[in-house]
Amino acid sequence: MKILVCIKQVADTESNLKLNGSTSWIVEDNKIAYRMNRYDEYALEEALLIKDVLPDTTVDVISVGPDRAASTVKKSLEKGADNGIHIKCDKPALSAFDTASLIAEYASDKQYDIIFAGVMSEDLMQSQVGPMTAAFLSIPSAVNVVKSELIKNSTALSVNSELEGGIIENVEITLPCLITIQTGINLPRYPSLSNVMRARSLEVITLNSEDLKITGGYDEILSVEYPPVSSKGKVINGSSEEKAEKLLDIFHEKALI
């Protein structure tokens, strides 16, 4: 089995995000913590679980991003991935179309049986790179998957896709295919010491996005802004104790306590 996992390095949403001077993107400085997109951690784990059962499996990870993204690729190797591919691209907030076209361009001649991706990235939240990559490669995709199981002698997957309101749709999908993984499907592992040692000797394969064919540029971010400040909510001020007292007053007024 040959598996590719699409991963992204994202700025932690708990970081203090500030707009840059031209409001084209956020300020990327050392105050921002970068880490693997959470959805992708679950996607990587899903691939590693297959490798645990079918040892003859290769798990490659691929990431499109600036230089710093290489550290997240390396992290995947420490968790047990076999090969790491970093497509270098300095453009911030590359569109889903462009990102998918780069990944598909790389994957087109590699004959992957399964490509895993996270449902969305935590920064751009588009839910598109996965299914667009599948569309570029002319393979089927299943999205928002909360359970995945190889069936039919590993020629297909039986997956549970989460719809609205807790409805689960079971789908059979033929390999090769692309699956986007929802959080909670598994419990992502920590790197083992042996894999950390192994990863030290592994080189991340670096490619330049300019050397790959890219087809998009269809949509563009014009500007980024802060959401309007809420006028609805009442900020409760004071010491912790005063805040607690005021909150209890409110609960009492509303006959809740």
Binding site: M125, Q128, V143, N144, T180, Y218, P227, S230, K232
Partner: protein, 332 residues
């Protein structure tokens, strides 16, 4: 079907041939987009046998409606649907194709975007007109920032966030002789086969029946701290414990206690969001609560944008104070 061309095509959602009512909000979005002229709008309703449904929708809203029928569309099938829609879109070359924002509709949008070389944007909250262009607004970074996106192709595809546009009586009866048509979708090679639908229901937790829901988010830090949430809930007479998705992902609480689009939609008298940052998908599940009190140490947390009462505190230190003050006051 070439006798009329459409400039907006809205694809409504059905499951087992039943309409998801929220997808009618697309009519409100289109009404706003076209300043009320929906004579060139087409509603497409996919399903196995939905022509009757189309007739009632067309009559009620006065908008041309097409039943896109195939056995395969009885369950949601974005692979099949986008294949079938591709021909219709190619035929009409509409300016805009819209879906309700849901992950499976992002899948359809993505497939269409690649196959038609059309630009797309998902989870649109609003739009504005700048010169001759429409600029779409959407959230990023869990709602902490918004972006303005321009789509640069003739055909544009978008998913519209549920709840962003509300259907009113003004959105009915655009055209008294709106037509209904039946489009039989051709079969295509099946590499994607929906098999069954199920629902994760469990009677043990009645979030829906509680007057108060005290909900835990990532801010609780570790599983043991759920005890703080339980103690807080115990000060109310009829309270249940809810959670945001990360808590259930960690298996700290079962998924049937998850509030959000992918979990339960609730509207209690009081919703206490404890250490919940306020992702779009969570907010959609609780924003209709009668009163929302949010406690978070991050003053920029998105949850504060919909809260009635905002408390900027770390729940780990604040909830024990709240419980102690309650006990001092009510002597328990």
């Amino acid at each position: 079907m070439k006798d009329k061309t459409y400039n907006i095509i809205a694809v409504l959602d059905t499951i087992e041939d039943k309409l998801i009512p929220q997808s009618l909000e697309l009519i409100a979005f289109a009404g706003s987009y076209t300043s009320g002229n929906l004579s060139q709008m087409l509603l497409v309703i996919p399903g196995k046998s939905v022509i009757k449904l189309c007739e009632s929708i067309s009559e009620k809203y006065g908008i041309d409606t097409a039943a896109l029928e195939n056995e395969e569309l009885y369950y949601p099938d974005p692979e099949f649907l986008s294949h079938a829609l591709s021909a219709i879109i190619d035929d009409h070359k509409p300016e805009l194709v819209i879906f309700t924002h849901a992950v499976r509709n992002c899948q359809s949008t993505s497939i269409l975007s690649v196959s038609l070389k059309a630009s797309s944007v998902t989870a649109v909250e609003s739009f504005k007109r700048e010169n001759d262009d429409y600029v779409f607004q959407r959230s990023m970074f869990n709602g902490k920032l918004k972006e303005n996106v321009r789509l640069n192709t003739a055909v544009k595809i978008a998913t519209v966030l549920p709840g962003a546009y509300t259907l009113t009586d003004n959105n009915t009866h655009f055209n008294s002789d709106a037509s209904v048509m039946l489009l039989k979708s051709p079969d295509n090679k099946k590499k994607y086969k929906p098999v069954s639908l199920s629902s994760e229901t469990d009677g043990s937790v009645k979030l829906e029946d509680a007057d108060v829901i005290v909900s835990a988010g990532r801010g609780i830090g570790k599983e043991e701290n759920l005890q703080l949430i339980r103690e807080t809930a115990s000060i109310f007479a009829n309270a249940a414990i809810g959670a945001s998705r990360p808590i259930c992902d960690q298996r700290w609480l079962p998924f049937n206690q998850q509030v959000g689009i992918t979990g339960k939609t609730v509207s209690p008298k009081l919703y206490m969001a404890c250490g919940i940052s306020g992702s779009q998908q969570h907010i959609a599940g609780m924003k209709n609560s009668q009163c929302i009190a949010a406690i978070n140490k991050d003053p920029n947390a998105a949850i504060f944008s919909i809260a009635d009462y905002i408390i900027i505190e770390d729940i780990i230190s604040f909830l024990p104070v709240l419980v102690r003050k309650y006990r001092e006051r009510y002597g328990e």
